[in-house]
């Protein structure tokens, strides 16, 4: 019998997926407060998993030239430049003759850039107006600093500055919509509680892509199949660390038993709060959230949507029983309507 929480709520996914005495659930804790944006994770992942190139265009999204998680980028480092305090540091440009921040403007330009990632839908274009709000800083109001050298200092504008970097990855949800909607069983739950596409099975139906509440999984064009982070299932099997976590120079990506990672993360948040970084918060750590908690969760320094993450995702299959009920009702209605139409008075 399926578990009562098979579709929603806290659950240990491996036993639910039929594994008897599985190993502990493994996952990632990505601490963005120590990320240096080096992208070693992106490269190490590509090297291990043989992931193809994902486009050679300058995107103008700070140092992000990958753009998004795609079938050809299973790790993606996001870069956000913000005229805001970093919390722990003194204001970077205090007393400098700067004008107001340009972050919203450059973000707006970055929103429209594209590159052929070799995948579908790959990196979708964004909206400049929406992008302009991403920095969360003051709106751009004019150019008081724009005077030729030597002529006056202008009003001091931006003083605070911070540069957020965050390595995004598949969340390996407890309730993984991609997995549940997969009609071939290609997407499956491993004994480690992770979610993996089986490349010998996937027939590229694309359903998982629409089902993912994080926009992670994506289809490779010349290949037709869906691809995403496997949490290096092959490495896990022989007791190795996933390639990205092994490469990460600053332990921003930590791999381990999920329970232990959650404890570590809570301690880290507490420490950051203590050190004057009240914005530090965890994302995806809570087994009571809309996806039953993520196998890969994060410590963020701003709202999730600033990094391109949904603020409160709920797995679509939570509502599946209700959906089937509605469908059943509609089906009955349809049959009855047909019956009535035919049983009606002959004309």
């Amino acid at each position: 019998m399926p578990h009562a929480n098979a579709l929603y709520g806290p659950l240990d996914p491996a036993p639910d997926a039929g594994y008897e005495n599985p190993p502990p659930r493994m996952g990632f804790f990505t601490d963005t407060s120590v990320c240096i944006g080096c992208k070693a994770c992106e490269v190490a992942c590509k090297e291990w998993n043989g992931v193809p190139e994902s486009g050679l265009d300058l995107l103008g999204m700070s140092y992000d030239n990958t753009g998004a998680l795609t079938a050809n980028s299973w790790r993606h480092v996001a870069f956000v430049e913000q005229p805001r305090s970093a919390g722990w540091a003194t204001p970077a440009f205090e007393e400098q003759p700067d004008g107001p921040s340009v972050s919203p403007l450059t973000a707006a330009v970055g929103a429209r850039t594209g590159t052929d990632t070799g995948t579908d839908p790959g990196l979708s274009p964004g909206s400049p107006a929406v992008a302009a709000r991403m920095s969360g800083g003051p709106e751009f109001l004019g150019m008081p600093g724009a005077q030729p050298p030597g002529r006056g200092s202008g009003a001091e504008g931006r003083t605070d500055f911070r540069w957020l970097m965050m390595s995004d990855v598949c969340k390996h949800c407890t309730h993984a919509a991609c997995l549940d909607v997969c009609p071939t069983g290609s997407l499956f739950r491993t004994e480690f509680g992770t979610v993996v596409v089986q490349e010998d099975i996937c027939n590229g139906c694309g359903y998982c892509i629409s089902a993912c509440p994080y926009g992670v999984i994506d289809q490779r064009k010349d290949d037709g199949r869906a691809w995403k982070c496997t949490l290096c299932y092959d490495r896990l099997g022989v007791g190795m660390t996933p390639a990205c976590a092994q490469a990460c120079p600053t332990e921003s990506i930590q791999y381990g038993e999920l329970d232990e990672l959650r404890e570590r993360a809570a301690a880290r948040v507490a420490k950051l709060h203590e050190r004057g970084v009240p914005e530090a918060r965890l994302y995806g750590h809570d087994p009571n959230d809309g996806v039953g908690g993520d196998g890969a969760f994060f410590l963020l320094l701003d709202e999730p949507e600033v990094y391109g993450l949904p603020p409160d995702p709920i797995v679509t299959t939570r509502d599946l029983p209700a959906m089937w009920k509605r469908a059943g009702l509609a089906a009955v209605t349809m049959a009855v309507a047909t019956a009535i139409a035919f049983l009606g008075r002959r004309r």
């Binding site: 579908d120 790959g122 991403m134 969360g136 409160d312 509609a330 349809m334």
Partner: protein, 357 residues
């Protein structure tokens, strides 16, 4: 190239122009995106929402399904509705309508199969769909429904060929036993048909696509109605008018189901926007209008061949418009981060206020 003194325009003018370009709703000042990427101009007609995002890029991946799937929504519905009509005609002794129903059902299901396989990234692996049977996957459920429905509809339709067979010999035997087999198959197909017509509502709703998911209470009814409308429409066009009386009633019922069940599409908050605005909104509206016209015309068409045909065409067109409209609305909602972020933000705010109480 010898004069490099900066132009005489006031300092900062170029930058202000640069900035002004950004604020222009068409955003045309900026270089076109290279490679892939739509024009995205449509979102800009909506005032920018007060929310943050990552470079305005969507949180979700828009569905990769091509128009194959929108087409399938139509052909699958048509096949299901037609199978029901075929069975109704069979039971009520309307051979012409029965034939049309069965053949349309087979045509619909054949087209559906083609479209579904064609949409796959790896069409040669279509049979992997039969590896598992997952109630959590509407596509898996649909596959098994189709797997049941398709052969049955095929047998029912092929049975209609019995009169063409010789009267004697082995084929003569086939000619005699085909009709009863066809009847059994026709009824069996009809039994699975409502599921075929309505599971597609769940297929779309069981995604993270905001406008589809939020519409889960409505979509099965919209699709059920649309399926009946399309099938009625084909029947009205193709069947002898003497036998189409049930279809006129059915068209009316279809309209009632679709409009009654679907009126909530416009009332599900922000994610209704794609059903009412833009190209997808226009398609949905056109579907509604055509449905009303088709149903009304059907009511008054009587035995008029012309009116029946007009009514039928309107009903079929309505179904096509509705399917493509709904399909497109989902894609629009996935492409704009606001449909993902804003409702979730509102939900969080709501939860916070309730927990505070």
């Amino acid at each position: 190239m010898t004069d490099e003194t900066p132009s005489n325009e006031p300092v900062g003018a170029r930058f202000r122009e640069f900035r002004a370009g950004l604020d222009r709703p068409d955003g045309k000042r900026h270089r076109r995106p290279r490679g892939r990427g739509g024009d995205g101009g449509e979102q800009l007609t909506v005032p920018p929402a007060d929310f943050a995002s990552y470079y305005g890029r969507p949180v979700l991946k828009p569905p990769v399904w091509k128009y194959d799937i929108a087409g399938y929504l139509f052909t699958g519905g048509l096949a299901a509705g037609s199978a029901l009509i075929g069975a109704g005609a069979q039971l009520t002794g309307r051979p012409g309508l029965r034939r049309v129903g069965r053949w349309t059902a087979l045509g619909g299901v054949a087209a559906s199969t083609y479209l579904l396989v064609h949409d796959l990234g790896r069409p040669a692996r279509f049979h992997h769909m039969l590896r598992v049977a997952k109630v959590t996957s509407p596509m898996s459920v649909g596959t098994w429904i189709l797997a049941a429905f398709g052969p049955l509809a095929g047998v029912a339709a092929v049975a209609e060929l019995a009169p063409l067979l010789p009267q004697h010999g082995v084929l003569g035997l086939a000619r005699r036993i085909a009709p009863p087999i066809g009847n059994v198959a026709g009824l069996a197909a009809a039994a699975t048909a409502p599921a075929l017509a309505t599971y597609t509502g769940v297929l779309l709703a069981d995604t993270a696509v905001p406008s589809w998911h939020d519409a889960y209470p409505s979509l099965p009814f919209v699709f059920a109605g649309s399926a009946l409308a399309a099938a009625s429409g084909v029947g009205l066009i193709a069947a002898p008018t003497a036998e189409t009386a049930p279809l006129r009633r059915l068209a009316l019922a279809a309209a009632a189901i679709e409009l009654g069940g679907g009126h909530r599409l416009e009332r599900q908050g922000l994610t209704s926007e794609p059903y009412t605005h833009g190209r997808s909104g226009r398609l949905v509206k056109a579907g509604r209008a055509l449905l009303a016209v088709g149903a009304a015309t059907a009511l008054v068409s009587g035995r008029s061949r012309v009116l029946s045909a007009i009514s039928g065409a309107a009903l079929v067109a309505s179904s096509i418009a509705t399917r493509f409209g709904v399909f497109e609305a989902g894609r629009v909602s996935a492409r704009d981060p606001k449909y993902t972020v804003v409702p979730q933000r509102e939900r969080l705010a709501e939860n916070r206020s309730t927990t505070r109480l």
